[in-house]
Symmetry: C2
Subunit: 300 residues, 2 copies
């Protein structure tokens, strides 16, 4: 049963990722909080704060079910439906500005009418938001995603990379949130991909979270940085906040459907700055990043 | 001509308020930036940053006109219309957590069909967002607003106070952004209030900005504070960001209609924090504030 298998998988992935991150951090441990959803289901929120490497990080598992909320019924063009949704979502805000912020989620959704399964699909993705651009890191990140995709379909990476660039676009700033990654949704059973094969793809993507991101953290976590680097990191985190509160469908959906606020907004960066019309100097590293964010490029 | 008179009034008010704030600050001066709107009009953005009293403050005047944007045509249920809109908006984020954040705006809108004036109205309001509650300050603020309202109509204050509480409601947190003030919109000519009388009301509201807020700043700006007060201020500023990006119609309208980003987001606080599930201690001053924000009360 796909639902059970996926559900076990995300539980194990949460344990696996949080313990890997704790080892890298060396100082702080994750705190766990179980929560229940009034209308069905609940979750386990795990959070690390004020670590030596991770200033703030959240690894959430949620498994919710019940009557499909109105807003979603409209979107999916169904009536009187029930749903089951479960997923893992990860946001990591490192302390050192040379280490990029990381986001990933993997999710599975089932739709029922009168207790009968009517539809189901997988979704998810991973993406990277650097403050300083180390091209080799970005290439490594994208290539790791691409290799995983290529194990299943040679078109996946190109398709999902484009979807990611389109989704994480801060339209009011005319720039990308970060350097992208992959993003996929409505992955339904079809001739080429059975649900079991999708599950296997999703599981590999789960491993890809570790192989794509953790080596970058290890490589950059001890690099020197100064106050001006921190200032830039805090300003760029402002753009992250703007994206999440203005554009991110997951965040807005969660808030509109009375999701658990603190688990949803765990994605907010720990310290953020807004300066009026901050513009980096013309030939600076900061400005090179901005140029890249304005025109998403091919990395893999 | 109302338009011309209001337009002059906000120019003078901008000068008046910025110079009053500069005197109080004693260190920093406002920087001015003229900007043009591609499709008609422009504005003057004035900003103060890193002052001794004001960590960040913006006083914006904008005067824009042209074809009515689609989203607004829908809202106002008109087609093929032109508009003229001008206003002043003020957001002040003081450094000392004992001094509340302040927001105000005053605006005038005209709607045309085939060069003929079809409709016009005033709007605006002022509201206070404290980090620590000094009841006398809040009473002074509300009473000053009430006195100004009472000069025109004995029902205005009650009505506009309620509108303010309703508008500045962070629904996803189930709490008010601050302790309110007054908020009014679609103030059209009627039997009791001619446009000239509305203009006079608006002008008094402009003076009220100074008489309601500045004495509070003077009274609190030199109060001692510690790191823990600053931490609380930064966390509460996070709620301010959440309101402005999730709920504030003005901000969202500006962003959707390609307004000048930096002038719109001048309202963002300078330094902000998000901690996971931050809860103040039960009998703390911080917790007293939260209780007040959950149930807006009568102050005047």
């Amino acid at each position: 049963m796909i639902k059970k298998k996926f559900s076990n998988f995300i539980d194990n992935l949460q344990k696996d990722i949080t313990s890997s991150l704790e080892i890298i951090d060396g100082k702080e441990k994750f705190k766990s909080e179980h929560w229940n959803r009034e209308k069905g289901g609940g979750g386990l929120t795990m959070v690390i704060e004020n670590g030596d490497v991770f200033e703030k990080g959240g690894v959430n598992v949620s498994k919710v079910h019940g009557q499909l909320p109105d807003s979603m019924s409209k979107m999916l063009k169904v009536t009187n439906s029930e749903f089951f949704a479960c997923g893992i979502s990860i946001v990591i805000h490192p302390k050192n500005p040379m280490v990029p912020t990381f986001h990933a989620n993997l999710r599975y959704f089932e739709l029922y009418e009168k207790d009968e399964l009517k539809d189901s699909w997988f979704g998810g993705g991973l993406d990277l938001t650097p403050y300083y651009l180390f091209e080799n890191d970005v290439i490594h990140f994208h290539k790791t995603c691409k290799n995983t995709c290529d194990n299943y379909d040679s078109n996946f990476y190109e398709d999902y990379k484009k979807k990611c660039d389109n989704y994480f676009w801060n339209s009011h700033r005319n720039e990308a949130r970060g350097v992208g990654g992959v993003f996929f949704d409505y992955c339904r059973e079809n001739k080429l991909m059975t649900n079991e094969r999708w599950l296997s793809f999703i599981k590999e993507m789960g491993q890809c979270i570790k192989t794509s991101y953790l080596p970058i953290v290890e490589k950059r976590k001890n690099m020197p940085f100064n106050e001006s680097n921190i200032n830039w990191q805090h300003i760029r985190r402002g753009r992250y906040v703007e994206f999440n509160l203005l554009h991110d469908k997951g965040t807005l959906f969660g808030l509109k459907t009375n999701g658990r606020i603190e688990s949803i907004l765990i994605s907010m960066p720990p310290k953020v700055k807004w300066e009026y019309n901050h513009l980096p100097e013309k030939d600076s590293e900061e400005n090179s990043l901005l140029k890249i964010l304005q025109f998403p490029k091919d990395w893999a």
